[in-house]
Symmetry: C2
Subunit: 329 residues, 2 copies
């Protein structure tokens, strides 16, 4: 507050009046104080104040899909960080529905959480602006916030997919299919961009028939995989855009007439015990959650910094399925 007063050229009492909405300040002075506050990146942080008062903090985590095991270690890591800070964690799942995400995040705020971690389903998070202004620390994870400048922690979806597809190319594949999640999902399009970059790097054309984005419902994935594996110029390899897709592709390939190479984005339990083991581009889901939660608690501790975007590297795990050579069509 001293810095704000100095910058605005007013006394501490005047700053206090503006911040607390008390009368006795001219519009011009009020504007100067507000400009100084904005310039200094200060914002009234109720959460930090509450924490200092020793009340148990609570954190709301808006998850995406409960049935996707990728999120379990992320969720658990957030919970562990919260517990280490003596805070209570409450969750809810948007089930990939933007309206539901909004409803949940606002319901958590109405229940007076001190901070929010959001795995976005929607692409417009301006609805959180009043909450953030009121002091609810907010961090986005797995996917970026839409139309809002906020902390975000991501995996390198583009780089990871590019490396995975380049791995297939290095094993002799020229016709490679890409099966991904719905096109409005940031990670789905980033991974597709990585696929296209790897194909372009190798001077390989991409046939429209080799690319399919849509829901991860097993029926759709199965249909599209079978389509790409059939016809006169079938693909010899598939890149699966996330673990839900990979698991269905594994089922399709278990009954395929010839070996088909496969690299999947995301590691998953038992991937190494299948025959062949499934080569994956692994994300560190626990580290995503831990990093986001630690960032949130720094905010709750009152650290004032511009929003930061953290991108975590992925890791290619070679197990057999991605090293199969192209089979005769």
């Amino acid at each position: 507050m001293k810095d704000v007063a100095a910058r605005a050229g007013v006394g501490l009492k005047t700053v206090s009046r503006v911040v607390n909405g008390e009368p006795g300040v001219t519009p011009d002075t009020e504007r100067r104080v507000r400009d100084a506050i904005t310039a200094l990146g200060f914002r009234r942080n109720d959460s930090a104040r509450i924490l200092r008062k020793g009340r148990t903090a609570s954190i709301g985590l808006v998850l995406e899909d409960l049935a996707d095991p990728f999120y379990a270690p992320l969720n658990r890591a957030v919970e562990e960080v919260a517990r280490a800070h003596g805070a209570l964690l409450i969750n809810g799942s948007s089930a990939e529905d933007a309206e539901r995400e909004r409803e949940l995040a606002l319901a958590f705020c109405a229940r007076r959480v001190d901070g929010l971690i959001v795995i976005p389903a929607g692409s417009d998070h301006r609805y959180l602006e009043p909450e953030i202004a009121a002091g609810v620390a907010t961090v986005f994870v797995d996917r970026p916030a839409g139309l809002l400048d906020a902390d975000v922690v991501l995996s390198d979806s583009f780089g990871g997919a590019r490396e995975g597809v380049a791995h297939l190319v290095a094993h002799g594949h020229r016709r490679i299919g890409f099966l991904g999640d719905q096109p409005h999902i940031h990670t789905a399009t980033e991974r597709l961009r990585g696929y296209r970059a790897a194909m372009a790097d190798a001077g390989l054309p991409v046939d429209d028939a080799w690319v399919s984005l849509g829901t991860t419902a097993p029926e759709r994935v199965r249909r599209e995989a079978e389509r790409m594996l059939g016809g006169p110029r079938p693909v010899t390899a598939l890149f699966a855009g996330n673990n839900r897709v990979t698991v269905t592709v594994v089922r399709v390939l278990a009954t395929a007439r010839r070996p088909v190479a496969l690299v999947g984005f995301d590691d998953f339990e038992l991937a190494d015990l299948l025959s062949p083991g499934v080569t994956v581009v692994a994300q560190d889901a626990a580290r995503l959650g831990r990093t986001a939660a630690e960032r949130l608690f720094r905010r709750l501790d009152g650290v004032l910094e511009p929003p930061r975007r953290v991108e975590l590297p992925t890791r290619l795990v070679v197990r057999g399925s991605g090293e199969l050579p192209p089979a005769e069509g």
Copy 2:
């Protein structure tokens, strides 16, 4: 209220006074009214009244272990029922810690949830008595409540384990090991009881060295499985008490020197694609969640019935691992 008034032999106004704690009622009359309320199973249901007023209901779900995929479909089913009723679901995880379970459940109540679904970690739920008396509908799932008469939805752990072990006996096994979760967990001891019953049914002795309860940490499960498979009289088959145990046992058996039969409690993703496929006693986790949630919403709708215990059947799924014959030691 009419029934209460009739039974207590007083007017409606008197019942209303007692229920709302207003003065002007003699102790004797008050006792008669309260006895009538108890006899009729009536309790003041704030939740139901709130729902009728049209406010959005919220449900708290206290989960156990986020990293156990068994709970994902249960959680999701609860969420779907809640959504169908226009209610908001918030979750938290006890991580198998009784104190954390209590803290979470009470925090949800403090945040004014209308109902609670609890997967118990602890064995004494009397701490919920005041909340239940105040109108928070409560249903327990997967494990029963401790020292509290409440609705509960379970799987038939005893019957399922008995059937799974009998299946191993039917394939010629005489020395069968049981690897289960910690002994304070109801499902763990029920499944052990099922194992002992199946062995007794077949007139087979149980060596103490064949039974091991404890955490599902992979190191412990691996060590115990290797111990049972070594020595002069190794087991020829293993029964795994839940999916966390089964997954580790599958890893141990993948490098075993001779084939060992395996039946696991709980189905799990990709169990059918392993070699051999893993024979399991499957629970219907989604149905557990759905049944518990529907029970809760009946309570929230104001249905007044004595607490009910629902036990869902399990299903033996034959895939190969449980049909291997006993190998030479």
